[in-house]
């Protein structure tokens, strides 16, 4: 049948198939994002089971990831903030410290590191759970009871991760700056009070940063969760954790980087 098609139609057929194959996951991600937003706006979606899953994911992602975030933020504060303050002071460029910290740490590093913490601590867990449910045919048990897995698992987890990402991002920025300040104050590199130091950094931020930084945190948390969950739900019988985990990790990292680069270029 295909041989009877004219050349240009065969070409278009192959081009379309190739494009769809390559863009399949991206299109799934776009569709699922729209689905989550649409369902989240319906009051009837927020049933007891959905609220329960939202709360438990929030507890797992934000509560469970808090210690990792605090530790990473302290290391970042010690390694980056203190060093930046110290070396900029030595180079006689202390005036640029505030804008540099606002640009590099709060705007660029915080969303990426928080995204990686969430990927490792929560999104990979979601991927494993949903992958096992899909491979084991257990999602069918939910469907047979009239419980939509998208509504009960995917939507609340994506929204909880979005909220966790924002929360941990704010905590990360505050702690890393405070620890950096503490180290420099302890070694007498700076003498100003903490509030003045933080006020200067906030003052160095542009108005658009107040939109761009939360957007980076919110969108990367949301898409990261969806990308890993869809990877789990998209598992086939030939998949195992050995194939799912690297695929999910690669997609998660890709989402974090793409969101941060795209928003970095376009918004903040």
């Amino acid at each position: 049948m295909k041989d009877e098609l004219p050349f240009y139609r065969r070409f278009l057929l192959r081009l379309g198939a190739l494009t769809r194959r390559q863009l399949r996951f991206t299109l799934m991600l776009v569709g699922a994002s729209w689905g989550v937003l649409r369902e989240a706006c319906r009051p009837t979606s927020w049933r007891r089971t959905v609220i329960f899953e939202f709360k438990s994911t929030l507890r797992q992602a934000a509560g469970g990831g808090l210690f990792s975030t605090l530790f990473t933020a302290a290391l970042t504060g010690f390694g980056i903030v203190a060093q930046a303050i110290y070396w900029l002071g030595i180079a006689g460029m202390a005036d640029t410290t505030d804008s540099l910290l606002a640009t590099v740490l709060v705007r660029e590093i915080a969303p990426v590191l928080v995204g990686i913490i969430l990927l490792g601590r929560s999104a990979m867990l979601s991927l494993t759970q949903l992958g096992q449910l899909t491979i084991g045919g257990e999602l069918r048990a939910l469907q047979a009871q009239g419980v939509d897995p998208f509504l009960v698992l995917v939507m609340p987890r994506a929204l909880a991760m979005m909220l966790s990402s924002f929360t941990l991002g704010v905590v990360f920025s505050a702690i890393s700056l405070s620890v950096g300040y503490g180290v420099c104050r302890f070694s007498s590199v700076i003498t100003m009070p903490l509030w003045t130091f933080l006020y200067d950094i906030v003052g160095a931020m542009k108005p658009i940063d107040y939109l761009g930084i939360p957007l980076k945190l919110i969108i990367s948390g949301f898409l990261l969760s969806l990308a890993t969950q869809l990877t789990g739900l998209d598992a086939t019988r030939s998949d195992s954790l050995a194939t799912l985990l690297p695929r999910g990790f690669a997609r998660g990292i890709m989402v974090i980087m793409v969101v941060n680069v795209v928003l970095g270029v376009t918004v903040a």
Binding site: T44, G136, Q145, G146, V152
Partner: protein
């Protein structure tokens, strides 16, 4: 018995897509009235599971119709289809338990999701049913950590929760769990008296030997379709 004259479940020459269901792609027909019970013998538990999926509107059709409480699954809006499935109690053999949750959540999730009944009332109903099936209370362990007999009892508790309109029971009782047969038959009879239609699949038709309640039909699910079965008294 209720006076409802519309069928709880009706298959009208429903021909499933083989690739999606694994069921032989031939037209299936049956009509299950409120309070009726279909005993279907099927050696292959996967086939029974797929047939139950067909009855639940989870299998796409090439032609024909599957109606539940007079509503065609394939003409229903998605949200209404999920809600209608919430009125079906089911004992499953394949992938029956969600390991993410404890057995209690597995039992309660359908009622918590589809109703606004107070959680305490749902839990109380689950505890009462669990005791009737011989469990000490509502099991809270992970399903994988329960014994096979306790899992079978918990599966029955889940299926009978919330007074379902249709029961799809895949091997609810086997030779190993025959000790709960009395409790099972008592709940089954009570459900039928409320007007619930029942399809009971079994690999061991001998288990039905003593069950001859009125309104009961016996069929066999084969590759060739649903065949009438000779009743053995």
């Amino acid at each position: 018995m209720t006076d409802d004259l519309s069928a709880v479940l009706e298959l009208r020459e429903a021909q499933p897509v083989f690739e999606e269901s694994g069921l032989t792609s031939i037209p299936y027909s049956l009509r299950l009235m409120p309070g009726d019970c279909l005993l279907i013998a099927c050696r292959d538990s996967l086939r029974a599971s797929r047939f139950a999926d067909l009855c639940s509107g989870l299998v796409p059709l090439i032609s024909g119709q599957v109606l539940c409480q007079g509503l065609d699954w394939h003409g229903l809006a998605e949200t209404r289809a999920w809600a209608l499935r919430g009125r079906i109690g089911r004992v499953m053999q394949q992938g029956a338990w969600i390991d993410l949750f404890g057995t209690d959540q597995n039992i309660l999730i359908q009622q918590l999701h589809h109703t606004r009944t107070k959680t305490e009332a749902i839990v109380a109903e689950a505890i009462a049913l669990s005791r009737r099936f011989g469990l000490p209370g509502l099991p809270t362990l992970n399903p994988a950590r329960l014994t096979a007999a306790d899992r079978a009892k918990a599966a029955c508790v889940r299926a009978f929760m919330g007074e379902p309109r249709l029961l799809l029971l895949e091997d609810p009782v086997d030779l190993e769990t025959a000790d709960m047969m009395t409790a099972f038959l008592a709940e089954l009879t009570a459900a039928r008296e409320r007007g619930c239609g029942v399809i009971w699949f079994s690999r061991e038709p001998d288990l039905w030997r003593g069950y001859n309640a009125a309104g009961t039909q016996r069929l066999r699910l084969l590759d060739e379709g649903l065949m009438p079965m000779k009743q053995v008294m």
